[in-house]
């Protein structure tokens, strides 16, 4: 082609301005900006807002039997905590919950371990999960009462049922999604069997496993409180569900709310302290979750 078709243009060379002469290149964020960067603080502000809405609406409604004010609930809660009744009930519930949760996780671990080692295990896990996962745990309670009697055994059984499938499903899905490259790396190191699972698969699938554990925890709570609402009278002390049921019968509505409030507070603490603590030290640190 002819050289004249493109206009001759001069070359451009520039000297950059010295960084000091530019004005602000880098400066610390203001206190307000830094404060709004803290997730806990933002969530706390939301909580205060929600409590305020509750208080205002309850005062406007002015019917303590339908909806006690936030302050009345808080008062009942503090009273319950101080005289130890609420703490005792919560401790009873938590003990049963932890036993069921731990046993459920152990069963899920066994099932998923079988599922990744053998094809029959995979089929078994998929079949059982699709059969039992949609079955509400509370629907098994009548059966559990016949098998294990009126007592902790029945509650633990239904909690295991509600935890097992959620955890197994998530863990297995996590194992399946581990990248081929990482699997090949593990086998390249000569790892097999249990060492391969613990050294490669579990950490690589940890985001899914953690989600399963969180869902399992929430399911366990729901099942426990629901089961305690059905019976609690014969199992001596009774837990939070029984506390709620009893106070409803006595029309002590602030106490009913205080019971529910306790469930919520425990949920918030476990989610935002314990699971959060695990998350920060694992999946976030490893850059698997932002």
């Amino acid at each position: 082609m002819s050289e004249g078709s493109i206009l001759p243009r001069p070359e451009i060379v520039r000297e950059p301005v010295a960084a000091g002469a530019l004005g602000v290149v880098e400066k610390p964020l203001s206190a307000w900006e830094r404060a709004t960067n803290i997730g806990a603080l933002r969530k706390f502000a939301l909580l205060v807002g929600l409590a305020l809405v509750w208080e205002v609406y309850a005062r406007w409604l002015n019917n303590p039997l339908l909806l006690p004010t936030f302050m009345a609930t808080l008062e009942a809660f503090v009273r319950g905590v101080v005289d130890g009744e609420l703490l005792g009930k919560a401790a009873t519930s938590l003990r049963v919950l932890l036993i069921g949760y731990a046993l459920g996780i152990a069963c899920a671990a066994l099932l998923t371990f079988l599922a990744i080692l053998t094809r029959v295990g995979t089929d078994l896990l998929e079949l059982l999960t699709s059969m039992f996962n949609p079955l509400p745990a509370i629907a098994l309670l009548p059966l559990a009462l016949i098998w294990f009697g009126l007592g902790y055994g029945s509650i633990v059984f239904v909690i295991i049922h509600s935890v097992l499938w959620a955890v197994a499903l998530n863990t297995h899905a996590g194992f399946l999604s581990v990248s081929t490259t990482l699997r090949m790396v593990g086998r390249n190191y000569g790892l097999t069997g249990l060492r391969y699972v613990t050294a490669i698969l579990i950490p690589a699938a940890f985001p899914s496993i953690l989600t399963g554990l969180k869902i399992g925890w929430a399911f366990a709570w729901r099942t426990l409180i629901a089961a305690e609402l059905v019976f609690g009278v014969s199992s001596g002390a009774g837990g939070l569900g029984w506390f709620i049921y009893e106070n409803k019968n006595q029309l002590d509505i602030p106490n009913v709310f205080a019971g529910l409030f306790t469930v919520i507070v425990i949920g918030l603490v476990v989610e935002n302290a314990i699971f959060r603590w695990i998350e920060v030290r694992t999946v976030r640190k490893w850059g698997m979750q932002s």
Binding site: T181, L182, M184, V185, G190, A199, T282
Partner: protein
């Protein structure tokens, strides 16, 4: 290395046919491939995509069993993956995200028991220094750039002092500038320790630069087209260009044309 050990091949591939199944067909990836890799070789497997070169490397790694022929490493048949053949993959996710750079390099040493426990720390450190990552030894992989991750993967493989290093297009996912620097660094590392490496690539320029010997494969299925000697890095530009043209002709032109260029 003694003269006698140089005479026996380290990796001996004879009449190897590889097939794999997709959900609806059986694909022959390579057909009766023969080649020998000798100690200290920088053996490059070069071919267009679809010539089964990655499958071939995975077969040497022990992930894929040949349907015909055999692979021998130091005279023993390769059956399953093992730490005597360390792989460096193309993907950046080959590092364990839950371990720091140092732990990533140290873990296979501990897991395979290839190195006495008291030597692990020292060997790890030496390997990290070799690839120039001592400042990032305690970082997690997600904090590193692509080139740095590949350096860690190379350090991890070299620390194991494997019989042979298997590299599957390790620089293909890097930008052009980083790739050139990594090729230079690999050559420097090789001139330090003279390890044996089988290197898969689809770039003719990379094959000539990195390799000491180049195996050319034809596509669909992969068959040996030629096994050539590469040129030293200080060879003159004309000779390099001639070799590049010759390889290009062999891979892409009609066989008759290739003979004309080669003559």
């Amino acid at each position: 290395m003694s003269a006698s050990s140089d005479a026996t091949p380290l990796v001996d591939v004879r009449g190897m046919t590889l097939q794999y199944k997709t959900p609806d067909r059986l694909v022959t990836a390579t057909y009766r491939v023969d080649f020998q890799v000798y100690p200290g070789d920088r053996f490059v497997v070069l071919g267009p995509s679809g010539c089964g070169k990655s499958t071939l490397l995975k077969a040497i790694g022990g992930y894929h069993a040949p349907v015909e022929g055999e692979i021998r490493l130091k005279g023993t048949r390769v059956g399953k993956p093992g730490p005597d053949r360390m792989m460096v993959f193309q993907e950046f996710d080959q590092l364990l995200p839950w371990r720091t750079v140092r732990e990533n390099v140290a873990f296979p040493l501990i897991a395979s028991g290839r190195c006495a426990a008291r030597d692990v720390a020292q060997r790890t450190q030496a390997s990290i220094v070799k690839v120039g990552l001592q400042e990032f030894a305690d970082s997690y992989p997600h904090m590193l750039s692509g080139g740095m991750k590949q350096r860690v993967a190379i350090a991890r493989a070299m620390a194991m002092e494997p019989d042979v290093l298997l590299m599957d297009e390790p620089f293909a996912a890097l930008d052009a500038l980083t790739r050139r620097r990594m090729q230079d660094e690999l050559l420097t590392l090789w001139s330090d320790t003279r390890f044996t490496v089988v290197f898969v690539t689809h770039s003719i320029a990379e094959a000539i630069k990195v390799g000491s010997r180049i195996l050319l494969l034809t596509p669909h299925p992969g068959q040996v087209r030629a096994e050539l000697n590469s040129l030293p890095p200080d060879a003159d530009a004309g000779a390099l260009a001639a070799l590049e043209r010759r390889i290009h002709a062999m891979l892409f032109a009609e066989p008759a044309d290739a003979r004309a260029v080669a003559a």
